[in-house]
Amino acid sequence: MAGTALLGRLNWLQAEVADTVAETPRTKTIGFDVPGWPGHRAGQHVDVRLSAEDGYQAERSYSIASAPDGTHIELTVERLDDGEVSPYLTDELREGDRIELRGPVGGYFVWEPALGGPVLLVGGGSGVVPLMAMIRHRAASGSDAEMRLLFSSRSWEDVIYRDELERLAGGGLTVVHTLTRSQPEGWSGYTRRVDKQMLDELGPPPSERPLVFVCGPTPLVEAVATALVQLGHEPNRIRTERFGPTGG
């Protein structure tokens, strides 16, 4: 599996839209069938390339949301209002449309069942996407690795994969939300940005040497990584992935 995903020349493949699902008001999941897809590992990316009729091209990198599943992959895309690529992917693409992509790429921000647990996942907004691939892969492979997700969203409506996370929770998977801008009535959970105290309360403690994956906007990633090191987590067991404002 790893071998086929890692080796060989990186070619642009044509991917056909199989279906689309609105996740939140600002995010959409797009499923693609990709003939020739070599398979992927949870946490890897694809590069997406769009071409206009006059030859203008735009390229972006997106995390794969789905667990390994033959030649089918899913991307969850957040619509950035002033973006160039994301509004096209979320608003324009229809079933049967084709785009070009290449991958999978990456290998640093990857979890596989063989790595075991405990695993701490910290995501902000659409930074949850590669973490969801890990959670789905854990479930699909029957792994019993202990996994905890700390997920920061603006509001309850903005929580991506909310229902699926609820279904998957339990049996070694813990899901904890923090809602930083607005909360539903009766909300008793966290209401602030991820901080040291929150990470300390959620665990696992540094003594259990969890493997940690942090993905989100750069300020969140920096704050979380710093707090984790202050808590005593080993820097080389913390893997980070930063989203930038240029991702549009």
Binding site: S51, A52, Y56, A58, E84, Y88, E92, R98, I99
Partner: protein, 201 residues
């Protein structure tokens, strides 16, 4: 026929006057932010601008001194080598002619020096004669840090990487010294109308 993504146009203006758009460029309504490194935040009371190198005596201006020099408002089109162009951008700044006034030099080249270590090189003739400015306002506002504030070079007749963000000085030189991008593939001169993007163009 090459691949086309149905319905994809990008965020480009289709109404631009093509005579103002160099070959291979697309006009954008945005002002994309490109940076080779972290945004420096030099306090204005420690900021200065220096002219060094092949000069009788180096010159130095503090921020307040620079702001007291005569400034100009100008409207120019800018062209980035990554293929976006932005038309009618409005700037305020001090002409490099003003800074070089009275300086006696045998130099034929200039190297722009920026906070954070970025450099870019060009012939001295391309920053004199009303062709280059130290700009500190854009669209009527103080120049934002992400766009090079407090002050950046503005050399609009060349690709925009020749207009160093966070510029802190000019070094005059008898010899040409290729800068940060010119030593790694980008064209030494960078005329957008000749589409001089890369080595050998």
């Amino acid at each position: 026929m090459s691949f086309v993504s149905r319905g994809f146009h990008g965020r480009r203006r289709e109404d631009a006057d093509s005579a103002r758009v160099p070959p291979g460029q697309y006009v954008t309504p945005d002002f994309p932010v490109l940076s080779a490194g972290p945004t420096p935040h030099t306090p204005l009371d420690r900021w200065d601008f220096q002219i060094t190198g092949e000069v009788d005596e180096p010159r130095r201006w503090t921020w307040d001194e620079l702001r007291e020099l005569p400034s100009e408002e100008l409207t120019r089109d800018i062209h980035c080598v990554t293929k976006w162009s932005k038309l009618d951008t409005v700037w305020r700044g001090v002409s490099v002619d003003t800074l070089l006034d009275g300086i006696d030099t045998s130099a034929e080249f200039v190297i722009e020096l920026a906070d954070g270590g970025y450099t870019t090189n060009l012939p001295l003739a391309d920053v004199t004669g009303g062709k280059a400015w130290i700009a500190y306002e854009c669209e009527g506002e103080p120049l934002a840090a992400e766009h090079g504030g407090p002050a950046r070079m503005l050399v609009p007749h060349l690709y925009f990487w020749k207009s160093a963000k966070w510029v802190r000085g000019l070094r005059l030189s008898a010899v040409d010294e290729p800068g940060f991008w010119e030593t790694n593939g980008y064209h030494n001169y960078g005329d957008p109308w000749q589409e001089q993007r890369y080595w050998g163009d």
